[in-house]
């Protein structure tokens, strides 16, 4: 309860967040940089960038392209590996009164399991499985676009996870509810969505793709209608808590996701335009609650 007497607490698979705001993995580093712009204590949780078992170099540059109301990235999950993460970033984040959600990347099931096993003994609150990584063993198809693979990787990883397991879905599928059901059956305690759409941009003067990797992940306000639709569909299809994201930049955007069925929301690309975006979203939610005399977010969640 804060001083306005608003109840912003949300429970994600047994972990209580003081409010429904987290950050979208990969857009917020491990919180250090944005911690110079906002008070991290104010966030319900910090979701850190994806970590893998060993350091990954990621894709070549250019990795960033701007599009109309959005952007593309082809960072390719560059990260220093789980050991470095545990050593450097957890102690930093634990200084703050916020929950830690660790996003996990892997190119094969054993690799995912290795990271999750290592994290199980670390001081973190929730694990978020990023199943949009290319599955090198199966020739590059991502785990997240195949029902069977999504189920299998969730099930295997779940055996190693001591913390509740969030599975993060890719929107690049024909039927998102099918994948959502598969990961819940596999043991997901919560679902987050959406990861980036697959997009492309071309430099017409150089006559080549802007990204060295040709295609990249499409995010930002432009994609919100797709994200919202998928959150709505998944909320109707499964009963685990949902963390909604995709283009959220204002409190109003966040309210749309809560109405559609999200329990919490993540702010991603918006941070790049406005380093205070996550706090602005939180303030916007509070204003909405005050405007309509809403005491608890349960009053409006999933009522659509």
């Amino acid at each position: 309860m804060n001083k306005e007497n608003l109840n912003l607490k949300v429970d994600i698979a047994g972990v209580e967040l003081k409010n429904p705001i987290t950050t979208a993995s990969g857009t917020f580093g491990s919180g250090r940089e944005y911690g110079e712009f906002i008070d991290l204590n104010q966030l319900g949780a910090v979701t850190v960038k994806g970590v893998s078992s060993i350091p990954w170099k990621g894709n070549p540059a250019p990795r960033i392209a701007e599009t109309y109301g959005g952007m593309l990235n082809s960072v390719g999950l560059q990260n220093p590996g789980v050991e470095e993460f545990i050593k450097n970033d957890i102690p930093f984040l634990r200084q703050y009164d916020t929950k830690i959600i660790v996003n996990v990347a892997g190119k094969s099931i054993p690799e995912y399991c290795e990271v999750v096993e290592r994290l199980s003994s670390a001081d973190i609150d929730l694990i978020e499985l990023n199943i949009s990584c290319p599955n090198v063993k199966e020739g590059g198809v991502t785990f997240g676009t195949d029902v069977k693979m999504a189920h299998k990787v969730t099930k295997e990883v779940k055996r190693y996870a001591k913390q509740p397991l969030i599975v993060k879905l890719s929107p690049n599928v024909t039927d998102i509810t099918e994948i959502a059901r598969a990961v819940v059956e596999g043991g997901a305690d919560a679902i987050s969505l959406i990861n980036t759409l697959l997009g492309m941009a071309i430099d017409i003067h150089k006559r080549k793709p802007i990204l060295a990797n040709v295609v990249g992940g499409f995010s930002g306000p432009a994609i919100k209608p797709v994200a919202l639709r998928m959150v709505y569909q998944v909320a109707k299809a499964v009963s685990v808590p949902i963390i909604g994201m995709g283009g959220i930049a204002t409190g109003e955007d966040a309210i749309e996701f809560l109405l559609a069925g999200a329990k919490a929301v993540a702010v991603g690309t918006a941070n790049f335009r406005n380093p205070r975006a996550s706090i602005d979203v939180l303030e916007g939610i509070k204003e909405y609650m005050k405007l309509y005399g809403i005491k608890s977010l349960d009053e409006i969640r999933a009522i659509i």
Binding site: G26, G29, E33, D39, R63, I64, E66, N73, N271, R276
Partner: protein
């Protein structure tokens, strides 16, 4: 806490075809800024989300002002070019690490190419010893007076020979038998690569300021990387231009592109 600031545009004038010089009244940034750092400029158009990184060309700590010199190359810089004196613009900075100024060097060589020239102006103000500035342009030179005012010797090369030496800046360096104890440089990557080769052959330490497409500009997104290795090592890392750079030692950079 850091924050995006709203800066008053004191001046914004065309100084060369498609190139503008914008003076911002922004005490806080002027006070902290060092040569070689940059700022993020934010567009007003909502369809353009990402900040535009622009190097700081000059810093006036007394008046609390900075000067940015930028080329209109796309939609964002076009928007900036249309800003009128008295209007304001959102800006974040100073960002990145500036040049590592070595005041002990007696002979400084400065190498600039096109829109890479601006940050070298502020740099030269802080150098002790002789300064030779070698600049390469396609056709028209700029900022010459700014360098000369500080007491530097300026040598120009243009691709078409319209001004100065006809050829590129490396040819000019060779042509002039340039000698120095250190090179500071900023410009297009192919130019930097070529000059880095020459510097290596001549055993002159060289700093290069790199550019890369950015999203956050503050080190959070890992979007703006370049390949950097420990001197004399084989294995490289992807380092962030915005946070680990934009200035690197030329022998750290993997010049493979």
């Amino acid at each position: 806490m850091k924050e995006i600031k709203n800066a008053l545009v004191v001046d914004n004038k065309l100084i060369s075809p498609n190139i503008y010089s914008m003076t911002l009244d922004i005490k806080d940034i002027a006070q902290k800024a060092k040569a070689g750092q940059f700022v993020n400029l934010y567009c007003k158009a909502e369809s353009r989300l990402l900040p535009r990184p622009i190097s700081i060309c000059e810093i006036d700590k007394e008046k609390g002002r900075i000067v940015l010199v930028y080329g209109v190359v796309g939609k964002g810089t076009e928007e900036f070019g249309n800003i009128k004196r008295g209007e304001s613009i959102e800006v974040l900075g100073p960002l990145g690490n500036g040049f590592m100024i070595d005041e002990t060097k007696r002979k400084n060589i400065i190498v600039g190419g096109g829109l890479g020239t601006p940050p070298l102006v502020e740099l030269v103000k802080h150098l002790k010893g002789e300064v030779d500035v070698y600049l390469g342009f396609r056709s028209q030179a700029m900022l010459i007076e700014e360098f000369e005012k500080i007491g530097a010797r300026v040598h120009i090369a243009t691709d078409d020979g319209l001004e100065g030496f006809k050829g590129n800046v490396l040819e000019l360096l060779k042509n002039n038998n340039a000698v120095g104890d250190i090179i500071y440089s900023c410009g297009p990557k192919p130019m930097l690569k070529a000059v880095a080769g020459w510097a290596k052959n001549n055993n002159i330490p060289m700093q290069v300021s790199l550019e890369e497409r950015m999203a956050c500009g503050i080190g959070a997104c890992v979007g703006c990387v370049c390949k950097v290795k420990e001197k004399d090592e084989q294995d490289w890392q992807h380092k962030k231009v915005c946070k680990d750079g934009p200035v690197f030692w030329s022998d750290e950079v993997v010049w493979d592109e």
